[in-house]
């Protein structure tokens, strides 16, 4: 019924997209980190470095018309839809050509032209919205799927429960990917959540649950692909738990000291980009040099994007009053 995807499948057709997308996020956030360090970014920012395979693998299944909702840790997810790094930088810098005209900021990337319907700074609040988008797609018979990323900690908030229940009872075409990076802000999952397999919560909503190695971009792409097929075929939602880790602290002010010694290192050894590079080499799809060329090229792209964003103008004062109502 659904197409067969296998983690071991060849990826000749897609590897460049996946690799570039992960690199783009990684390098983008390196710059964001630096910008923060030099005081050029306001408020807070939440890096997803280390989690690139999850967002890239999942978003690689999006087709035009599909919709993707994410959290404040959303740079990666939104860039993975194809949003412009220049506009993303400009948004973080609060500039007029930013994704949201500089009015959103790091936590609120939205790019409707790429199906990125919103990054939300209220934990879990995007889930009812993503489910609503799926309802819209179902109702319009557009064949679109709604994809939502959410954190492990967010599975304890009421909105998660209500959203998944509605998705379940209305059999909506929505795929919810838990980016289980094992921490809320600073609290380890086990301190706040009485079960260890978050995917088990799918059963409460009569929906299908899947677990995947969130640092394996092909594995994520496969499991999400199957979920998308089910959704498009009218077979309802899927909850996917992706096991992953954020290399950085929760937000700009967090050195991540609460991590047990060795934990970060063990995850660094599973760096999703390096793993994918190894796989490309192993399968003789692309050797070190070719991958290095991609690194260079994406690096240059990001540097240029930052350059352009820095040169972009501030919003005009009257923008303050626009886009409220009317």
């Amino acid at each position: 019924m659904t197409a067969v995807y296998e983690a071991q499948a060849r990826c000749e057709d897609i590897w460049e997209t996946l690799l570039d997308s992960m690199l783009r996020i990684r390098y983008f956030e390196n710059e964001v980190k630096a910008l923060f360090g030099s005081g050029l970014v306001r408020g807070s920012t939440h890096l997803c470095q280390g989690q690139e395979a999850t967002v890239v693998g999942a978003c690689s299944r999006l087709r035009p018309g599909d919709m993707m909702a994410s959290t404040y840790r959303g740079h990666g997810a939104v860039l993975a839809t194809g949003a412009s790094p220049t506009a993303a930088f400009a948004e973080i810098l609060g500039r007029d050509p930013g994704l949201c005209g500089g009015k959103g900021g790091s936590m609120h990337f939205t790019d409707l032209t790429h199906g990125a319907i919103g990054s939300n700074a209220i934990v879990g609040a995007h889930l009812p919205i993503a489910v609503g988008a799926a309802f819209g797609a179902q109702h319009l018979k557009s064949g679109a799927v709604s994809l939502a990323f959410t954190g492990d900690g967010s599975t304890n908030i009421g909105a998660f429960h209500e959203a998944l229940n509605l998705a379940g009872i209305w059999k909506l075409p929505v795929v919810i990917v838990i980016e289980n990076n094992h921490y809320g802000e600073y609290s380890p999952l086990a301190a706040t959540t009485p079960i260890s397999a978050l995917v088990d919560r799918a059963k409460s909503y009569g929906i299908r649950g899947e677990v995947v190695d969130g640092n394996d971009v092909l594995a994520v792409r496969n499991v999400v692909g199957e979920a998308f097929d089910r959704a498009r075929d009218g077979n309802g939602p899927t909850l996917i738990e992706a096991d992953t880790y954020r290399f950085e602290g929760h937000s700009r002010s967090d050195p991540g000291k609460y991590r047990p010694p060795g934990e970060l290192e063990s995850w660094l050894a599973r760096d999703p980009i390096e793993r994918f590079a190894d796989l490309l080499k192993e399968r003789e799809i692309a050797g070190t040099e070719i991958v290095e060329a991609h690194r260079q090229q994406v690096g240059a792209e990001i540097a240029a994007a930052l350059q352009a964003a820095k040169a972009a103008p501030e919003p005009q004062p009257e923008r303050l009053y626009e886009d409220v109502i009317g």
Partner: protein, 326 residues
């Protein structure tokens, strides 16, 4: 078509006419379909439009509002019901932080043609958690239109305006007015947003009041007319935007203002109106502007106490007499 309908029937009629007019319009909420609504104000819609367009939801107000937002993003024009306005409490984030801010935070990429309807107000013995004038919880929130229809005619027309509006509208339907009769003309032009109704004209005192307070003000007007006192009763109909101009025009005649508001004074629309008028039209006042509101307490259940809690027609008349003594 012109029909005699109650306020309650006007609701179903307006929703039905909008569902008829635009296939992108959908309607959902708790028990709105099969049961015709907890207040029987949506009877017949399910039968007429089917379960795809008129849907019963789980008891999940966050999901209801979120679903409306998401569906609007996907291209629908959702009408969602929150049964009692007090339940805004359980979905306040979705209304205030999501629905109201989406357009602004995305710099206009997303507009949300969402109508939220809810049953409002005190006087029927439902107790503290089912009797509040919840409009006062939302007037501080930019990004929402707020409407408070007081008659069957206005309810019909305002609901249609709301559904046709490209930004979110919250419509408060007053529980104590469901039985009121009116003459509904389904072909009348759409009522513009933010236009007050001068319900009764007079030259001595301007009385501004909404929903059941408007009717009490009219009652008071009749009582006072017998004494030769002629008050002008203005029903703003919309709290956001507020038709200050209509009140100013009246004050130019009367120079005396009484604002009658259901619910406690602090943070209410009445105080906000008085503060604006005092700042900008101080010279218009020949007497101190007066507020007549509920006391600063929750709504009590007991009939004698709840009656005392609500401003009454005699209270309105007394305040007017006092204003004229100044």
């Amino acid at each position: 078509m012109i029909r005699e309908l109650t306020y309650r029937e006007a609701i179903a009629s307006a929703i039905g006419d909008e569902l008829e007019a635009d296939p992108r319009t959908v309607f959902f909420g708790e028990d709105v379909g099969a049961a015709g609504g907890a207040f029987k104000s949506t009877v017949g819609l399910l039968e007429r439009f089917g379960g795809e367009r008129v849907r019963d939801t789980p008891i999940s107000e966050q999901a209801i509002v979120g679903a409306a937002i998401g569906a609007a993003i996907a291209g629908l024009r959702p009408i969602a019901e929150i049964m009692f306005a007090d339940f805004v409490g359980v979905c306040f984030d979705q209304i205030v932080n999501q629905l109201a801010k989406y357009r602004y935070m995305t710099a206009g990429q997303v507009r949300l043609p969402v109508t939220l309807r809810m049953a409002n107000g005190a006087g029927a013995g439902f107790g503290a958690q089912h009797s509040q004038a919840a409009e006062n919880w939302l007037i501080n929130v930019p990004g929402l239109y707020l409407a408070t229809p007081a008659t069957a005619e206005d309810t019909y027309r305002i609901l249609r305006t709301a559904v046709q509006c490209d930004d979110p509208v919250v419509v408060f339907e007053h529980k104590n007015l469901f039985g009121l009769k009116g003459t509904i003309d389904s072909t009348a032009p759409v009522l513009p947003v933010g236009k007050a109704d001068v319900v009764r004209s007079g030259e001595h005192v301007t009385v501004v009041a909404t929903q059941q307070m408007r009717h009490r003000a009219v009652e008071a007007a009749e009582e006072l007319a017998a004494e030769g006192i002629h008050i002008e009763v203005i029903d703003p109909r919309w709290l956001t935007p507020f038709d200050d101009a209509a009140v100013v025009a009246s004050l130019q005649k009367t120079s005396r203002l009484l604002v009658v508001q259901e619910g406690p004074a602090p943070g209410g629309w009445a105080g906000a109106l008085v503060a604006r008028l005092c700042a900008h039209h101080f010279e218009l006042f020949d007497a101190p502007p007066r507020l007549l509101t509920s006391p600063f307490t929750p709504v009590p259940y007991s009939g004698v106490l709840e009656d005392a809690w609500l401003p009454s027609a005699p209270d309105v008349a007394d305040c007017c007499r006092e204003l004229l003594k100044y």
